[in-house]
């Protein structure tokens, strides 16, 4: 009997001491039901700052437990724990209180429902007047921002005043997980950079109570990188293409004669302006539905500049209805300069370029009306076009205008081809500005574009050959080259 009592008290004492000993490190049930069922712990746990990111994240790697997919096959998943200082868990509560105070001091506040969480906060502050509330609010704001500043220090105090929290879960069979926080200080998953983090990984069985913790790793700090290595391929392209452009532009500046193939649509522009002058009818230039930040629109501005200059020289009338105010502002600038350059500043009128409206079909309705009433000799459509392309081009055809179009919007090219006299397809739009100006610098960049295309073809052929051979002969180095082009986002 005495022995029995002794054993029982010993067990109780032992379990207490285990519980005490584990309080700092474990939040799992203190007594493992049967140690024989416990899975083997993961080994070789390594925690590192996640690469190629802005910080606020840690990547963990480990060797799977011996009972994961082998041995007893009891591991169902891995749970990643991070040691979190109490200060960090206190911040959301402080923030809730602050939120309450903000609502309370703002307009249209009504008391919360009894028994709710807000109600318990409300009870604390119920008796305070407005001035006191304001005071509390300000001090609380300061407390919170101070707490956020103190986070690294609190982390450094490990293992004092803190607890383990689960931060990520990985399925069985995995050997890596990431603890990704945000950089937003006012969100609960904020993860401060340059703070000492400690991690451990639990191998968990189907019964969540049966688990084994790994060794604790740390301290490890997260920080942002200054270069994303996953984007190396892009940077190589940027460099090559930039250098090519600069090289050919310099080459052209030195007076090299560069051939460009004839393009019917471009040559038609000059004829069209002459035709308009003869007929005494205006030229309609439509910049499309793009905004000023789209490159197609920027290319269109350049073409507009050329056309406007020619128009100014011939003293023909130009009409440019704009879809977007910023586009309008830029186009006015372009046309104005063209008139000045042509030596006819007096002919310039601020209303050559005007704003219509920013709703697609309202714009089309107005431009269609314009076409039938002003009967332009020539319609030029350059830039971004959407569904309205055919509406514009068919109405222009009915009005008997010569029509020249250019867009990089693939879906609309067929309609322009069908309804217009000349169409610039895709990249031709971007080449057009160089063509019209015949400036060596711009032609130089065309040359760079062609070289890049040749490079693309070569790369595609090489890549094709490589990926084929890699499949056929199982070459891993070949696929690693192919992988180089798979850009990390």
């Amino acid at each position: 009997m005495k022995l029995k009592l002794f054993v029982v008290s010993l067990v109780v004492l032992l379990s207490f001491s285990i519980a005490f000993a584990q309080e700092d490190t474990l939040t799992v049930p203190p007594i493992p039901p049967d140690s024989a069922l416990l899975p083997a712990a993961v080994t070789g746990l390594v925690a590192k700052d996640t690469d190629n990111d802005h910080g606020h994240a840690i990547t963990l790697k480990w060797q799977p437990s011996a009972d994961d997919g082998a041995g007893r096959q009891s591991v169902a998943m891995y749970e990643v724990f991070r040691w979190v200082p109490d200060l960090m868990t206190r911040i959301p509560a402080l923030r809730d209180t602050l939120e309450y105070l903000k609502l309370r001091t703002g307009d249209g506040w009504s008391p919360p429902e009894p028994g709710s969480r807000t109600d318990s906060i409300h009870n604390v502050f119920a008796s305070l007047d407005d001035a006191q509330l304001e005071e509390r609010k300000e001090s609380l704001e300061q407390t919170i921002s101070q707490a956020i500043r103190d986070l690294p220090a609190a982390h450094a105090a490990y293992p004092e005043d803190g607890d383990w929290q689960q931060v990520a879960v990985a399925p069985a069979g995995s050997a890596t997980a990431a603890d990704v926080g945000t950089k937003e200080k006012d969100t609960p998953d904020y993860l401060p950079d340059y703070s000492d983090f400690y991690y451990r990984v639990d191998a968990v069985t189907a019964d969540p109570a049966i688990r084994t913790a790994s060794e604790i790793v740390g301290p490890v700090q997260s920080y942002g990188q200054w270069f994303n290595k996953g984007r190396l391929a892009v940077s190589v392209f940027v460099l090559i293409f930039g250098l090519l452009t600069i090289f050919f532009v310099q080459h052209a500046r030195r007076g090299a004669d560069l051939y460009v193939r004839p393009m019917a649509g471009i040559e038609a522009v000059d004829d069209a302006i002459g035709r308009a002058t003869e007929m005494g009818r205006p030229i309609l230039y439509v910049l499309g539905l793009g905004t000023a930040d789209m490159i197609a629109t920027i290319a269109s501005f350049t073409i507009l500049g050329r056309v406007a200059r020619r128009v100014a020289e011939y003293q023909t009338k130009l009409i440019v209805p704009a879809y977007e105010p910023v586009v309008m502002a830029v186009a006015q600038e372009v046309v104005k300069t063209a008139y000045y350059d042509a030596g006819r500043p007096d002919d310039y009128d601020e209303d050559i370029v005007f704003f219509v409206t920013s709703l697609q079909f309202a714009y089309v309705a107005a431009v269609n009306g314009l076409m039938l009433r002003e009967l332009p000799a020539t319609n030029v459509y350059m830039g971004k076009f959407f569904a309205e392309s055919l509406l514009l081009a068919e109405t222009g055809a009915v009005a008997g205008s010569i029509q020249i179009a250019g867009t990089d919007e693939i879906a609309q090219i067929p309609f322009f081809i069908v309804a217009c006299d000349y169409t610039l397809i895709g990249e031709e739009l971007y080449a057009a500005s160089a063509y019209l100006g015949r400036e060596p610098i711009l032609l130089g960049s065309l040359k760079a574009q062609d070289w890049a295309k040749a490079g693309v073809i070569a790369l595609a052929v090489a890549g094709l050959a490589l990926s084929n051979l890699a499949v056929a002969y199982d070459w891993s180095w070949a696929s690693s080259i192919v992988d180089f082009f798979r850009v990390v986002d």
């Binding site: 802005h54 606020h56 249209g108 950089k183 942002g224 990188q225 200054w226 994303n228 984007r231 892009v234 293409f241 452009t245 600069i246 532009v249 000023a292 490159i295 920027i298 290319a299 350049t302 073409i303 507009l304 500049g305 050329r306 105010p325 910023v326 309008m328 502002a329 830029v330 372009v334 104005k336 300069t337 063209a338 209303d351 005007f354 409206t357 920013s358 079909f361 309202a362 309705a365 009306g369 009433r373 002003e374 055919l390 509406l391 068919e394 990089d408 693939i410 067929p414 309609f415 081809i417 069908v418 309804a419 895709g426 990249e427 971007y430 100006g437 610098i441 711009l442 890049a452 295309k453």
Partner: protein, 270 residues
Amino acid sequence: MKRQIPVVLVGLFGLFMIFQYFVPHESSEWIYEFLLDWTIIIGIFAMALGLWSLYRVSVEKIRTRKPAWGYNYLTLVGLFTMMLFGFTSQNGEAWGWFFPFMVAANLTLVMIIQASVTKGHRGLFLGTAGVCLAVCIVIIIFDDTWGFHFETAEGLQSTMFRAFFDNILIPIFATMFSLLAFFIASAAYRAFRARNVMATLLLLAALIVMLRFNPYFGPLSPYMSKASNWLMNVPNLAAQRAIIIGVGLGIVATALKVILGIERGYMGKG
């Protein structure tokens, strides 16, 4: 100087945007997000420019008696009315003096337009405008069935704004769009003629795809749809890719030229 600074600005911001792509660091992200927000906000300010241009060109058309000038009153009244609807809403169920207010406000606008387009009688028109404006102000002060706000805690509240949207904007917008059904037929009729190899290819491809879901070809139908799928998926994929690569290159080259200051057409110098 006046021309240089913008070019420098373009280069500076352009280069930054390129660099930030490779720099995952927080500070670069931070600036990047700011810049994106800024461009949106600046764009909104430009609306004032657009509205002013619309107003001036419309008034100019009325003044110079351009073809269909009379309709420009309609444009301006529509603009002004919709704008007032956009900034006002009912406080309760009753309309009160809201509609008389709208009439008076629009009369004010029309009188101001008249004053700016006529040579004589300017005083008369301005005087009338003043009277109408006074009526508006009186209504604003004494009528509290509606007020100057539009969005409240419950979301969009202006009944008339919604009514105009549903019954004027939507019908015209959708009908304009539906005109494409007619135009696509007339364009097909006019252009799809086997004039040369290119036109014939265009024609044949269009025919095959249009026949794809026609149930009247009996046993041939599945082949029609397979052929059209093949066309859409294989040659189409190839051509799209060629165009996309070309366009991508064109965009990249143009963007680079803009950033490096080689291409200045958008600044009126090219």
